[in-house]
């Protein structure tokens, strides 16, 4: 604010190289701090000067200049656009060809920060020919450089399928896949997230990532100690599983579902979310895959998540996943109902504290499970506290099962379900009334009358009006 930028600017042109480097470093630190200072740096016309002198200075200056560019570019798309406009990308690409790994790292980091914001900036970075150089950087022995280069590749590929295809054409997948086994945790996190960004766009890209033989190696990353490695591994598996049933089949055959289920069990909070969504996507494709999820003990784990997690969006994702598992056949619905999750879902749907998204997802899940559920002990609690729109599905299921099963009929009467059904008031002619009628038709009339409300009153009235035979 005190005109420091204009004071530092002439120092950049100083004769002594150390002063130039220190001035550049100071500018970088200032711009790093906040968006306004970065704007001041941009307005102070410093960037063209930096770009011009990037071409001919030594490596310390290059590192400092790349640091300034990164610090300015990371705040918002406008700053990054300003950097692109002053022709910094060519200079950064030249830095990427430099021998010193520190310079390469600074240049790659700056490119990554620029391309993070939106697709046009990424396209600009790709157009200047940075991607093959980044792939070369990934193969370098220094771990920090590998990390930055893979995160830059991930940032470039995340915006659109064409950009991801550019990265794939440069041969990024093979090198990234080799680095999954590296012991460094941050590197694994960046590599897995970059692969996830590539795989998420289309089926072809996901198949190419799978062809790099990442399974079952990726599953070992699910046992890593670092939470972020687990999260990005789950994200990668989720992005692959969501495209087609064949890819999900592949993941199931290699035991991926069990690994992800265990991983969900050991994590807490937001780290669980991609794993939960992965189970949902796998189960959504077909009923065989949903059964595979069930036998991998996915459903108890999901119900634990549903009860434990405090956040609404994670609960919504869990409810959705349970709905996808249970909606296929009655076996699936039974597997979900046995774990006592349906009352939890109902309470989440009814509670006023849940967000709208959570309520909607709970309702859909309950509906889809109930339409296939024939496990009557799980359905009975619903008779008591369900709202009418869910109640009609419950009664529909009862009306389907009771006519054929005498044991169920007996249980229904003894548990008080028939009594509750009589108490339900429905408009004549509505679906609810039809179901109630069909349930009542399963029982002899005296039983139905016995359980109808007010029966004791009618009996007493009959007693009152009865004239005993006088002889």
């Amino acid at each position: 604010n005190s005109g420091i930028i204009s004071l530092l600017r002439p120092l950049l042109l100083d004769v002594v190289p150390t002063i130039q480097q220190t001035a550049a470093l100071a500018l970088g630190r200032l711009a790093n701090y906040s968006d306004d200072l970065a704007e001041a740096v941009v307005k102070g016309d410093i960037l063209p000067q930096l770009v011009y002198s990037l071409a001919e200075q030594n490596r310390f200056y290059k590192k400092a200049a790349a640091f300034v560019l990164r610090a300015v570019g990371k705040h918002s798309p406008q700053r990054a656009q300003a950097i692109v406009d002053c022709g910094a990308l060519d200079a950064l690409v030249m830095c990427l060809e430099d021998f010193d790994p520190g310079v390469k790292e600074a240049a790659a980091w700056a490119l990554g920060c620029i391309s993070r914001h939106n697709a046009e900036l990424s396209q600009a970075v790709v157009d200047v020919g940075a991607v093959p150089l980044l792939v070369l950087c990934v193969q370098e022995p220094e771990v920090a450089l590998k990390r930055i280069a893979s995160s830059a590749l991930g940032d470039i590929s995340k915006h659109s399928p064409e950009l991801a295809q550019t990265a794939v054409d440069a041969g990024a997948i093979a090198h990234l896949a080799q680095m999954i086994l590296n012991p460094d945790a941050k590197l694994k996190h960046q590599v897995l997230s970059a692969l996830g960004q590539i795989a998420k766009h289309s089926v072809d890209l996901a198949e190419m990532v799978v062809e790099a033989e990442i399974f079952p190696v990726v599953l070992t990353c699910l046992k890593d100690k670092d939470e972020y490695v687990k999260k990005s591994a789950c994200t990668l598996i989720r992005e692959i599983a969501k495209h087609t049933p064949e890819l999900s089949q592949l993941i199931v055959n290699t035991g991926g579902v069990a690994a992800v289920t265990d991983c969900i069990g050991t994590c807490r909070g937001n780290v669980r979310l991609p794993g939960i969504m992965m189970l949902g996507y796998v189960a959504a494709h077909s009923e065989n895959l949903a059964m595979a999820v069930i036998i991998s003990k996915g459903v108890p784990q999901l119900s634990i998540c549903l009860s434990e997690e405090p956040e609404d969006h994670i609960k919504a994702a869990t409810a959705w996943a349970l709905g996808q598992i249970g909606r296929h056949t009655s076996e699936h619905a039974r597997a979900v109902a046995v774990t006592n999750t349906l009352p939890v879902l109902l309470s989440l749907y009814m509670s006023a504290g849940s967000s709208e998204d959570l309520q909607m997802k709970c309702k859909k899940a309950i509906k889809s499970i109930l339409q296939k559920c024939t496990y009557l002990p799980a359905l009975e609690p619903f008779l008591y506290d369900a709202p009418p729109n869910i109640l009609k599905h419950v009664l529909g299921q009862f009306s389907k099962v009771l006519p054929h099963d005498s044991e169920a009929r007996r249980l229904f009467v003894t548990s008080g379900g028939l009594k509750k059904v009589q108490e339900i008031q429905a408009e004549p002619g509505s679906l609810l009334q039809e179901y109630i009628n069909s349930i009542n038709n399963c029982y002899p009339e005296e039983v139905v009358r016995y359980y109808s409300p007010g029966y004791s009153d009618t009996l007493l009235q009959r007693v009152e009006s009865y004239q005993p035979l006088t002889n």
């Binding site: 060809e97 046992k223 100690k225 595979a292």
Partner: protein
């Protein structure tokens, strides 16, 4: 004539007798007539009845035969239809059996193969178990490795500490602090100090000279003559890393002949040199060293000193102008300007007319 009288006397008697005999007979006649009529009608009735009976019998026979004939025809048809339906029922029943067997087989084999499904689920659960075991082992091995690494690090640190504090070892004269005379046996740290090797102070390595330029490297093109810095590197640098790549690959990579990019093939201060070169050429080319600044000497009253090349009477301007028309239009022979057959070049047509008057100071 006696008879006549007699007859006439008897005539009334005869009349009466005649009348009486006729009337009696009449009475009888009626009775007899009725009787005869009755008998006849009865007999005729019998006849007709017999005839009708006969007719009935015959009609019955005809009708019987006719009806039999019709029924037999119908019966044939019915038998045919019944036979046909019986056969079709049999075929239908057999077809139903075949179809039900086939559908059962198809559904069980192709649509939902329960046994295959069970096998598949069992295989999936087995794969899950295997993966869980493998991951468990992996996690355990990671943990044990970490623990080992930690222990090793601790051990190394303790080694270093021991070596650094080696001077605390007890000598013959003075017992060290870990070897107090009041203890039964020396502290384990003392034993460790005895075993440790004292630290040698590290000598700083001599600063290397500035490496020769790339051009000098390119001169030695043989594969193994990669230049090494002065002084051999110390033998114990870094601990060995494994697993190793194929040694041929490694040597190939390490001793790859240098293929610098176009940019790297230039010397590092190429830009400065190019500028120097350019300035040298300009110094050679330029006639005067003073930079040309237009109108710089406008306000000065300097006389223009033409250079030697342009200040002779044999100036290049005079040699060719006589052949062309003079520029002064008053000295032309005729009034009109020359006409060209071909269109002149526009630029030359505008010569002297629409160029800027920058050279002349107005």
């Amino acid at each position: 004539m006696a008879t006549l009288a007699r007859l006439q006397a008897r005539s009334s008697f005869i009349e009466n007798q005649y009348y009486f005999r006729n009337s009696v007979v009449d009475a009888f006649r009626k009775k007899e007539n009725c009787a005869a009529v009755k008998i006849q009608s009865w007999f005729r009735g019998c006849q007709v009845r017999a005839y009708i009976r006969h007719l009935h019998r015959v009609a019955i026979i005809i009708q019987k035969w006719w009806r039999g004939y019709l029924s037999r025809k119908l019966y044939q048809l019915k038998v045919e239809v019944a036979y046909y339906t019986m056969k079709m029922d049999l075929y239908n029943a057999m077809a139903v059996r075949i179809q039900s067997r086939w559908r059962a087989h198809k559904v069980r084999k192709y649509c939902f193969n329960y046994f295959y499904y069970k096998q598949y689920l069992r295989a999936v659960s087995e794969a899950n178990e295997t993966i869980r075991e493998i991951l468990q082992e992996y996690a355990e091995s990671q943990e044990s490795e970490e623990k080992k690494a930690k222990l090793e690090r601790e051990e190394k640190r303790r080694e270093e500490d021991t070596r650094k504090t080696h001077y605390l070892l007890s000598t013959k004269q003075i017992p060290g602090i870990y070897n107090s005379p009041f203890r039964k046996e020396p502290d384990p740290w003392e034993l460790r100090l005895q075993k440790a090797k004292p630290l040698v102070p590290r000598r700083r390595r001599v600063q290397q000279e500035h490496c020769p330029e790339l051009t000098a490297w390119l001169a030695c093109t043989s594969v193994r003559s990669f230049p090494r810095p002065d002084g051999l590197p110390p033998i114990t640098t870094k601990p060995c890393q494994g697993p190793f790549r194929n040694i041929n690959e490694v040597l190939e990579q390490r001793y790859k002949p240098l293929e610098p990019t176009l940019r790297a093939a230039q010397p590092v201060d190429e830009l400065k040199r190019a500028r120097e070169e350019f300035r040298r050429q300009e110094r050679v080319r330029n006639i005067s060293d003073k930079m040309f600044l237009p109108f710089s000497s406008h306000h000065k009253k300097e006389n223009y000193m033409p250079s030697l090349l342009s200040s002779s009477k044999y100036n290049p301007g005079s040699c060719r102008k006589q052949d062309f028309r003079s520029e002064n239009p008053r000295r032309w022979v005729c009034d009109k300007d020359f006409q060209t057959i071909f269109p002149s070049i526009d630029l030359f047509a505008k010569y002297g007319k629409s160029y800027s008057k920058a050279g002349q100071i107005v």
